[in-house]
Symmetry: C2
Subunit: 477 residues, 2 copies
């Protein structure tokens, strides 16, 4: 008999006879009440067992984590907490779960313990909710861009170009490391490697994306990117998913408009489509913060915070204005910042970004027009010859969630910049071709998907919003 | 002034004054007619220049590949081939394109030449169409699964597990290859590598996906996968995108139903949403095949072929039946096959698959219940103890497009199989946990996305349906 998803059973508007549900036992109370979950939604369905007419042997096997199939009538529940429940007529144990050994006990586990059991943590309420929200957010990303006519582009993961300089790269090779072939000068002979050259994992699809934007007009990427940086923080992963739209004929203002509209759209989409999961995560956060001193707790509850982002424009502030604000700020004057802001040109640290967002403006902030020498080579130089058309979007609790820019479309200016920075023109011949043939103003940005999921779920460690996190010393599963 | 996308201009139902379009010049005829394309759709908009009142210097710069902005009135066209055109009042050259040097001349280029210019080929009609169709197909994949309540799961790209054995793997490392650290026994000390162990690029997200299916019920992956195989064919890439749904409580029949319904959905979605691009690609294929002998040409035109797949059930044939058909076939008897089918148990080669699909059944075929010893360890053993619940979907012109199976859910049977094949139980402890705790029947499949794009676009080389192909000796861009 075909089973029905628990989500659909819980949405029923009238009783039904002979329904079948399949799922995993969350709890079994009083030898009578099974809380059954199949992952289709946060809520369990209550299955009431006729324990007097069920063999003792079967009852013993209804343990936390066991997979079962139940058939019975969907009736209005006598108890509270649920509208409908299943009066079980038939129960089948599909797969046992030794209650002593099953790691996901019906109690609170630490996030560290759950990370070490990333293959099972998704059977908990919190991680089920997080992964459903993540999935819906990913879909919202595609829906937003596709509805606007953007073309989804899969830029390569393995790349021969390592000029972008966005970060340390992982090397990819098919050579035997214990018997590396050597060339005439005694170096490693990459000509014998799979691709005939030295290759890395991509840090960004932007440069390839630009070539497509200069043909298709509006494109976006959404794929994995990599950083071999030894950053053991709650905000960094060695492998993460990035969204990079790129639009021909957009200037920096258009770019900021796009980024703001995009973020508001996907947050609203999650609010509209993950209500139950977000309510659960909001409650989880409140519980979690009960152990913190008042001053460290979130000022807003999760859903309130998400609505705040929808209903308020992001504050747009130039780097120069930001520096003035920071120089005059109390933590700067009282030397509470680890890095004191002395003068224009300083790179902003996380502490400064958080001050601007969380203390000064108390809303998402877009900083723009950064000093040229602290930003990437491809950003468009302003008329002042000192600043570039860069923008970063800073979010409360998250820090930088978006980094973008108007790109330097002028061939001569771009080549000069590359020469100064020692970036190989030969290697990026194809990138320069976009400026050689029909160049035009264009802009784009990158959004770290996991940082978005962090923000929307209210989680605080990025390792908890990706199925199997990759961090220094950790590539389990 | 804000510009309007050419797609929207071409859809207008009444004349408009003062519209602006931006894009790249495809051709410029008679010093008067610009064919302008911005990638928003296949078609160009004709822009009529008042050449008598336009400076000679400007006219000279309207060359193939140049980026321009035109402002004027959208009026009904006097000429044929388009309903509306722009009577240009103002023209601005945004970026020049030296007509002598621009590689994408307004003539037919070979596919090989275009591959070497993958950053520019997307400015041609064919590659613009292919990349738009690819994007729409990717969206259809997400839409299909999300509408059915599947959860999108990003399984890891970098993996410490290399037990799956789906193919040769690329190694990922942050160690300096010219100065590898050694351990006490003289081997490479992977403890000093970024992840503290030997890591590879994933060949499949299936095993991780199964752990999520056993919690969330219905999941799918859609991400890049890798094979370090020296296969220089028109059907293989070293880096390709794969879709892998996995469903708890589905048996092999459910799995076949899902795969067939899914493929029909995405093909229909492309037919409904890429009409213009598919018509162009159909015509392209007809032109291309004109140079081939009649016998080698496609029996159906592209759109007819796609509709055929929608309107006909896939033929389901057991491996055993297929062997009987092949043994009795003319090419087998006349020894025309390179590999003669002698007896049950033989692995099927591409030539056999193509015979079944293209000559015998003349429709998509699902082969199922393969001999256990030619299939992967995780496939469910049938009661006959000889065959496993595997299925492959074979498509005309493409060969295998889907490979899937019902998974071995029985812990003891699975472990026994792993021992026989020498697969490390320790390494796959987390995978075995799904069978230890609440195991259940479940099934899934993998679909190579580029093979789907090949089929839908009618292209014949897989390098032409991915933006920047990665193949032996090729990681340019």
């Amino acid at each position: 008999m075909k089973h029905t998803k628990i989500k659909d059973l819980l949405c029923c508007t009238k009783p039904l006879t002979d329904v079948t549900a399949k799922g995993w036992v969350r709890t079994f109370r009083n030898n009578q009440f099974i809380a059954l979950n199949d992952g289709s939604c946060l809520n369990n369905i209550q299955c009431v067992v006729d324990f007097e007419n069920t063999p003792e042997e079967t009852l013993k096997r209804i343990t936390t984590g066991a997979a079962i199939s139940v058939t019975g009538d969907l009736v209005e529940s006598q108890g509270k907490g649920q509208k409908y429940e299943i009066q079980v007529k038939k129960i089948e144990i599909l797969g046992d779960s030794d209650a002593e050994k099953f790691p996901m006990q019906p109690k609170k586990h630490s996030l560290e313990f759950l990370r070490a059991n990333a293959h099972l943590r998704v059977r908990t309420n919190a991680f089920g909710a997080i992964m459903r929200v993540r999935s819906v957010l990913a879909y919202a990303v595609h829906k937003y861009f596709q509805d606007k006519g953007f073309v989804y582009v899969n830029t390569p993961v393995i790349t021969g170009a390592d000029a972008e300089g966005a970060g340390e790269m992982f090397q990819v090779t098919a050579l035997p490391l214990d018997n590396l072939p050597k060339n005439e000068t005694g170096g490693i002979d990459y000509k014998q490697d799979f691709f005939g050259k030295h290759t890395n994992l991509t840090v960004s699809g932007q440069l390839e994306g630009e070539t497509f934007a200069m043909a298709l007009g509006q494109i976006y990427t959404f794929g994995p990117t990599f950083r071999a940086e030894n950053s053991n923080t709650s905000r960094h992963l060695a492998e993460f998913w990035m969204i990079e739209p790129e639009v021909a004929f957009n200037d920096l203002d258009d770019n900021m408009d796009l980024a703001e509209d995009f973020i508001q759209y996907v947050v609203k989409y999650a609010l509209d489509n993950c209500t139950e999961d977000l309510q659960f995560l909001e409650q989880r956060l409140i519980e979690e913060e009960k152990n913190k001193p008042q001053a460290e707790r979130s000022e807003m509850a999760l859903i309130e915070k998400l609505k705040f982002v929808l209903e308020n424009n992001f504050k747009r502030v130039s780097y120069t204005e930001a520096i003035d604000i920071l120089k005059d700020s109390t933590p700067n004057k009282k030397k509470k910042f680890q890095y004191i802001i002395e003068e224009w040109g300083a790179d902003l640290q996380s502490e400064h970004e958080r001050f601007l967002v969380e203390k000064h403006f108390k809303c998402p902030v877009i900083l723009y027009d950064y000093p040229a020498n602290i930003k990437a080579f491809y950003m468009r130089l302003n008329e002042d010859q000192k600043t570039v058309r860069a923008m970063d979007i800073l979010f409360p609790g998250i820090g930088e969630i978006v980094g973008g820019s108007q790109r330097e479309e002028r061939y001569d200016v771009l080549v000069e910049k590359m020469r100064v920075l020692g970036i190989d023109e030969e290697e990026l011949w194809w990138y320069l071709d976009t400026r050689r043939f029909g160049t035009a103003v264009h802009s784009g940005f990158g959004l770290g998907f996991e940082r978005l999921v962090l923000f929307v779920t209210g989680m605080t460690n990025i390792r908890d919003v990706i199925p199997f996190p990759r961090t220094p010393q950790n590539a389990e599963f």
